[in-house]
Amino acid sequence: MLQAEGVQLLCLTASSGVPLFSRGSTKQLPFSVIGSLNGVHMFGGGQGALLSCCETDRGARVVWRVFRDSVMLIAVSSGGDSTVTELQLCRLLENTWNCMVLVLGQEELSNVRNVERLKRDLRSCYRLIDQLLDPGDDESVMGYLTNCADCLLPPNPSLLQEALDAFTQAADSEFGCLLIRGRVAVATEKWWRLVSQEVVLLSLLVRCMSGTTSCDYPVFLPVGSPTVAHRLLRFQLLQGVDVCTLCGPAPSLHHAKTELVGRFWSPLMETLHGLLAQTQHTPVPSIALHPDILALLLINRETSRSLSVPGRPPAVTPQDGVPPLPSSSRRWELLRLFYTFAITRYFTSGEAAAPPAEPLQEDFSQGFCHTPLHCYLVTEECKCYGLQTPQHQLFLLAALTMPTFALRSIATQTLTSITAATGF
């Protein structure tokens, strides 16, 4: 998606500006431009200034960031019609670095002894990085933007939780997670204690491997264990249902697959089949949304988990006099834009959601002496409403037919009914 919008990602050594790789947009930037981008950043550094972002009058953006004084990542969006926001680019850099650590470990990235060798080794990160640039057709997955784990709420979680806990324990681990269509359905307590970026990346990694039956991947945890690799064992139980554990040296993949998977999960086969069917169109099967809601994103700020719930699908034949509803892929795009808009301008205090570095834009919210709790926006395509409580943030898209004055109560009711029914 970012790729389609002409985003290019560059990686250079921080000390000497040697290019390590470039991904994304098929039209590569000429070497001289890459050199200049590195040059201006270095020049700033020499003057005691940190250059982190710039924007051209045609809407092109460049974002810089140096990691561990050793690697510089630069993201460039070409502007024009594209709607790539600064927040998206910042997240892209962060996530890219985390992917590099996940695969190679922090040591190799921080102490670069042999640039040629690092260049070669970095190729092993391309699959994940390209996935960040182009997450594929499942557009409702937003973890790489929100830094919250994309979740799904099964109607009968206790059965699954029990099986997962027992399975994880049998695999000599405390970290276990069950993913349905790439979203976390249940996880062990320890899995939830991983920082949310790690949960997001591990889910991303599992989504990359959808065609295969199981895996044993060495992974470094960017925050929890950046220098010692763990083993990510993943088993595809059914198509669309994966169970993962983070393990030490034992058990072997062969053992876990032949001895453990069947023992703990065969009894739940029917449940899992049922769950797949129930969640085909929504991650929260127990909830019926107001028919004018197009899509919503609900974030639990305390647990860093999120739900992206689609609304009523667009009608096949548009009716006279009624403006056509945006397509479902456009809805997710609008929701991403509204989320970005709201959290960079209004809901800036939430640590989990705010951009990592200093606020990069002129600080709009500083003009307020209060913290906004609600915001709304009416566009030509839809109406948007955002609200936050100490525990939640809700971002909601509604059809133009919904009266603006009703947005607030519908949003509030929706939040209450989801949290009351699911405990999310």
Binding site: V103, D121, R123, S124, Y126, R127, D130, M209, G211, T212, T213, S214, C215, D216, Y217, P218, A229, R231, L232, F235, Q236, L237, L238, Q239, V241, P249, S252, L253, H254, K257, V261, G262, W265, S266, M269, L272
Partner: protein, 263 residues
């Protein structure tokens, strides 16, 4: 190809004899060749398809036969070995009937792919599902992390050694690969697969080199390449040869090879 298979069976026999195992060896193939083309195989092969494409099976799933037909499943672990970029991940996808990646993304650990393959035994007409688990481990990950190779070798039944027709180095690397993952006394089925045969215009490996390799090592060499079109013709020779060798190996191990007179 059947000649090659037979040759390999004979090799196996000779080796087993030298180990003191001396079962009777069948003359010729044990399984029905090209069974997927016979009308009586249809009800079995349809079970590995879904909406005209090969079905992917999760670990809890298996082809769903009607209750009155009982089919046994035999499971085998098969390791794919070969230099980075020869096409191990692509071969696993091809055999499983999914699209092959058109980019080379290094595999950064072990991934396994399950493939169900219906087989009919010549001797008694019995039908079996062979469940192959292909173990694909990225070569660079294998070098970086010591625990991966032992894991791939644990209880392995067969190894496919891959080389690419467009990379002579990968062909030269075969002997290294073979000595790294096997030792002469093991009972593992070994086959060699040359990938990217569709790019024969750019081929780097000559037929003569392959003939001489076959002579030296006594291992059959298969050729694969091209886009996956979902048909069985492109994967059947390799999957059937694996079935042939593995079943034979099992019979040897259990000393229950069918008497030659019946074949």
């Amino acid at each position: 190809m059947s000649r090659v298979v037979f040759h390999a069976v004979k090799m196996e026999y000779e080796r087993n004899k030298s180990l003191g195992v001396a079962p009777v060896i069948p003359h010729g193939p044990i399984i029905v060749a090209d069974w997927h083309r016979c009308p009586d195989s249809k009800e079995y092969f349809t079970k590995i398809f879904q909406k005209k494409r090969r079905k992917t099976f999760g670990l809890l799933e298996a082809p769903a036969m009607p209750p009155q037909i009982h089919v046994d499943t035999v499971r085998y672990k098969i390791f794919l070995a070969g230099k980075s970029g020869v096409g191990k991940t692509a071969l696993a996808a091809r055999l499983g009937g999914s699209d092959i990646p058109n980019m080379h993304y290094e595999t950064t650990g072990i991934e396994t792919t399950a493939v169900f393959w219906p087989v009919k035994l010549k001797e008694n007409g019995r039908v079996l599902f062979f469940k192959y688990l292909f173990w694909d481990c990225g070569e660079n990950a294998l070098r970086r992390f010591d625990h991966l190779l032992p894991s791939c070798k644990e209880q392995v039944d067969a190894i496919l050694f891959l080389f690419s027709f467009t990379d002579h180095g990968s062909f030269e690397d075969l002997s290294n690969q073979i000595s790294r993952v096997t030792d002469p006394s093991d009972r593992i089925v070994k086959l060699v697969v040359g990938t990217k045969f569709d790019l024969f215009m750019h081929t780097d490996v000559t037929e003569r080199e392959i003939a001489s390799f076959q002579e030296t090592w006594g291992l059959p060499v298969f050729r694969v390449g091209g886009d996956v079109n979902g048909g069985l013709g492109e994967v059947a020779p390799l999957l059937n040869a694996l079935a042939e060798h593995l079943w034979h190996q099992d019979c040897v191990a259990a000393s229950c090879v069918p008497p030659s007179s019946q074949v």
